[in-house]
């Protein structure tokens, strides 16, 4: 019988190596999508008295900065919660001396015939002339429409799925996400309890590069000392889910193009972008993450995240015609109000 994984938590982090060596019935499955992520694996664990599968992402295979990447993923989870976007809950662990994130299997109820496919699989079926990395937001939405037409899926279900993709992209733009490839969108498909075919965007789980974790430590220090450099580098963070090439301002997908495309498309997207600007609060997210992991986020990364967040927020406010100072005043006022209420 496996022991509960909670018994292996030390200083807030689950010791995965000890858990794997002590529990022989643990099974691991490699993640199959691409070579870059082949150290990620599935683990069968006992948690709260039940056997569950958790997906482990060791940070050793992160391109630049594994430690900051851990904090950026946790911070983004908090920000997505504030914006009301469905996201997976991440736990933290250590594997082979490196930080790792753990997330439970999104599919909790196996009684229905549901499973998960990713955006790249949808694009492949449609035979779009595109790849996992070079796709446009119209490709992925088009693939969802085609899937729904092929499987006779209800219009409301289809529209909700498309809307969720658009909202996820808007939230990504706020969080300076630079890694939203097609296979980073997961979709729950199959039949529901009434045997009706369904498709829904799964809780966001591939949030590896966001909030500046794509910069290395030296770059971060340089940018903190040079405001102009910071503004340029932050502004030029590309966003994978770009608009089609013929409508791009630059050769690469640029976040501003996608934001304009989305808010022009639908009033609901514009309202969502406004609510993100008003409701996403980086200081609150930092506070919650530090509470969760019971330790402090490194000071330089915390400062860096605050600065780049403000920088991006100012740029977005300019795009959307929002008053940045008023938004910040409201947030400051709310914080003071909460403090007074606490006292």
């Amino acid at each position: 019988m496996n022991q509960d994984i909670e018994n292996y938590r030390k200083d807030g982090f689950i010791d995965l190596n000890s858990y794997i060596s002590d529990n022989l019935s643990v099974l691991t499955y490699p993640y199959y999508i691409d070579g870059y992520e082949d150290k990620n694996f599935w683990l069968k664990v006992k948690k709260e008295g039940e056997e569950k599968y958790v997906y482990v992402k060791p940070k050793e295979n992160v391109y630049l900065n594994g430690e900051y990447n851990l904090y950026s993923e946790l911070l983004y989870e908090e920000l997505l919660k504030q914006a009301g976007v469905n996201t997976v809950h991440l736990d933290v662990g250590k594997y082979d001396g490196e930080y790792a994130t753990l997330s439970e299997n999104i599919l909790k109820d196996y009684s229905y015939n549901q499973f998960i496919i990713n955006g790249n699989e949808l694009l492949e079926c449609k035979r779009y002339n595109t790849s996992d990395e070079e796709y446009s937001i119209e490709d992925i939405i088009g693939a969802v429409h085609d899937y729904c037409a092929s499987e006779y899926i209800d219009k409301d279900v289809e529209n909700k799925c498309v809307k969720d993709i658009e909202k996820a992209c808007i939230a990504d733009i706020f969080a300076l996400s630079t890694d939203r490839r097609a296979n980073d969108f997961d979709f729950i498909v199959g039949n529901d309890e009434n045997d009706e075919a369904v498709i829904e965007l799964a809780p966001l789980s591939h949030n590896t590069y966001c909030l500046g974790s794509n910069f290395d430590t030296d770059e971060i220090y340089d940018m903190l000392e040079d405001d102009d450099m910071l503004a340029d580098r932050v502004n030029l963070c590309y966003f994978d889910a770009g608009v089609p090439e013929d409508r791009r301002e630059y050769e690469y997908p640029y976040w501003e193009d996608t934001l304009y495309y989305l808010v022009d498309k639908d009033e609901e997207n514009l309202d969502f972008a406004r609510s993100c600007a008003n409701n996403m609060n980086i200081d609150e997210a930092i506070k919650n993450v530090e509470k969760r992991i019971d330790s402090k986020i490194p000071y330089e990364y915390k400062e860096f995240v605050r600065v780049i967040w403000d920088n991006r927020l100012q740029n977005i406010c300019e795009c959307l015609g929002l008053d940045y100072l008023k938004i910040m005043d409201n947030k400051y006022y709310q914080k003071e109000l909460e403090e007074v209420e606490c006292q």
């Binding site: 499955y29 490699p30 993640y31 199959y32 999508i33 691409d34 070579g35 992520e37 082949d38 150290k39 599935w42 599968y53 299997n105 999104i106 599919l107 229905y112 015939n113 549901q114 499973f115 998960i116 496919i117 790249n120 699989e121 492949e124 079926c125 449609k126 035979r127 085609d146 899937y147 092929s150 499987e151 997961d186 498909v189 199959g190 039949n191 045997d195 075919a197």
Partner: protein, 107 residues
Amino acid sequence: MSIEVFWDELNILEIEKRDNLFISVVNIENLLLAKETGFPTFLLKQISVVSDELPGIVRDRIACIRGRLKFKDNCTEEELEENIFNYINTTGCRRPTDKFSINIQVN
């Protein structure tokens, strides 16, 4: 070499490798049964009957096993191939979020 693709217990697709071609055959009866239990036929739309590459549904599932086993065991090419076949047939390349599994036979 032949590869069978299962949807739960139903064998829905067989792929035969002859020379350098991959020939795909759908098991219609099983496909219709699978469709009743939520299998989206949309996922088979990318598969060519005769192709010079493996269908994506199989390719994506076995793509990184090679790298992973090599990394793990540091074995020779022959051992690696045997390990890959064993791995595929033992696990079916099935993830906890998946309903597909794969079986491979060497003729």
